[in-house]
């Protein structure tokens, strides 16, 4: 049995995944070395409102005009391993614009930049663990991984959780994307159920009539065994 405070549950993609070509020279070749969790691993930075400005959650309001694209509300709850809300948690996101273009010098795709859209957002979860962003739906984009390679539309997410071990950088997808079968990054998650949990769901309740479509996506961070359980075991 796993007695680590934050048990390791294998959900992540492998380091070596040849279908994603860049892993070839970058993914470590040797197995990860087990590490007994100490205070160094069960602590981690705790960031909240001090990193967030008033317009950071609204990616459609960061410039003088309206960005091009389908307005969406992106919301959901950040939960720990017991399904409890993770409150006051900094959530950072970044994404391409509606045409599938990032505001980044390395993005050499032919799509246009939108002067009214940067694509970076931050917010802090509320007492229910809920985050909420106003943005536009990102476009799919091409990349060089293999001939005719396209990434399904996605939004990048970064969260800290409550400990060094719970740090998470991931991507959220949109329902029914026809590109899923062809995307090695999405398909690198070994378990079908885990992989499907990267997909948001259309949420009529989160839509704003005549303004924005709603998508809901919950995030589960590495969970910790409750202390009473540990003393029962002892």
């Amino acid at each position: 049995m796993n007695s680590a405070p934050y048990p390791r549950i294998e959900v992540d993609p492998p380091n070596d995944y040849p279908l994603y070509r860049s892993t070839g020279l970058r993914g470590p070749k040797r197995p990860l070395v087990p590490l007994a969790q100490s205070l160094s691993e069960i602590t981690g930075p705790v960031f909240g409102h001090e990193r967030v400005g008033p317009l950071d959650h609204d990616l459609t309001a960061q410039h003088g005009g309206d960005p091009i694209g389908q307005r969406i509300i992106l919301t959901g709850r950040v939960l720990d391993g017991d399904g409890r809300p993770v409150r006051g948690q900094l959530v950072e996101i970044w994404q391409a614009n509606a045409g599938g273009k990032y505001r980044h010098p390395v993005d050499d795709t032919s799509a246009a930049l939108d002067p009214n859209f940067s694509g970076a957002g931050r917010c802090v979860t509320d007492d229910d663990g809920r985050y909420r962003f106003v943005t536009v739906k990102p476009g799919a984009y091409t990349w060089q991984n293999h001939p005719n390679a396209w990434r399904p539309a996605h939004v990048h997410f970064s969260l800290f959780g409550t400990a060094f071990v719970s740090r998470l950088v991931t991507q959220m997808y949109f329902p029914d994307d026809p590109l899923f079968p062809y995307d090695p990054i999405y398909n690198s998650v070994p378990d079908d159920g885990d992989r499907h949990r990267l997909i948001s769901r259309f949420d009529l309740d989160a839509t704003i009539p005549a303004e924005a479509l709603g998508f809901s996506w919950d995030i589960v961070l590495r969970g910790r065994h409750a202390t009473p359980f540990e003393s029962q075991e002892g």
Binding site: P7, R8, I9, D12, P13, N15, Y20, S22, L25, R26, G27, P28, K29, R30, L32, V33, P34, L35, A36, Q37, S38, L39, S40, E41, T43, G44, P45, L79, D80, G81, D82, G83, E92, I93, W94, A96, Y102, H104, V106, G121, H156, S158, A163, F164, V165, R167, L168, V169, T170, Q171, I185, Y186, S188, V189, G193, D194, R197, L198, I219, V220
Partner: protein
Amino acid sequence: MTELLRPTPSQTIGPFFHFALPWTDGGLLVAPDAPGAVHITGQVTDGADQPVIDALVEIWQADPAGHYAHPDDPEPSAFVGFGRVPTDAGGRFDFTTLKPGPVPGPSGSPQAPHLSVSVFARGLLARLSTRIYFPDEIEANASDPVLASVPPARRATLVAVAEGDVLRFDIHLQGEMETIFFAV
């Protein structure tokens, strides 16, 4: 025992995070002229020994007394021992910080002073985790339970090298000198 929920899986940070994640002065945990400031620099390289110019490196550490800025520390520190920097065009990263004190290990025995490190990059589908130990802590390193748990031939990949006023810690994603990465 209640079953824990399966966490949301990791996906690569990709090549386009630079306009969102780096923070102003993300590598300065203290001012360069602060008393006791230590300068840690290094390079991330790939399996062809080429610099990884689009990685994000984060550190997490205790304060000089060995306490973390976290409620689970018996004496939570006011020093937020967190830094985050993207690698530059040479694959390099820099942190200016304070040297942490020893912190308790999993069984209560002390661990040598160390920084916990996360590495993210295009081509890494999940965060990599390693540690930076200090070269002047010969005795503490010799009795550190984590250093003791790794193959002796690879132990040196976890210890910074003193180069004048700076500590150098290179991160080799692959190759002969592949850095030890932990399953945390």
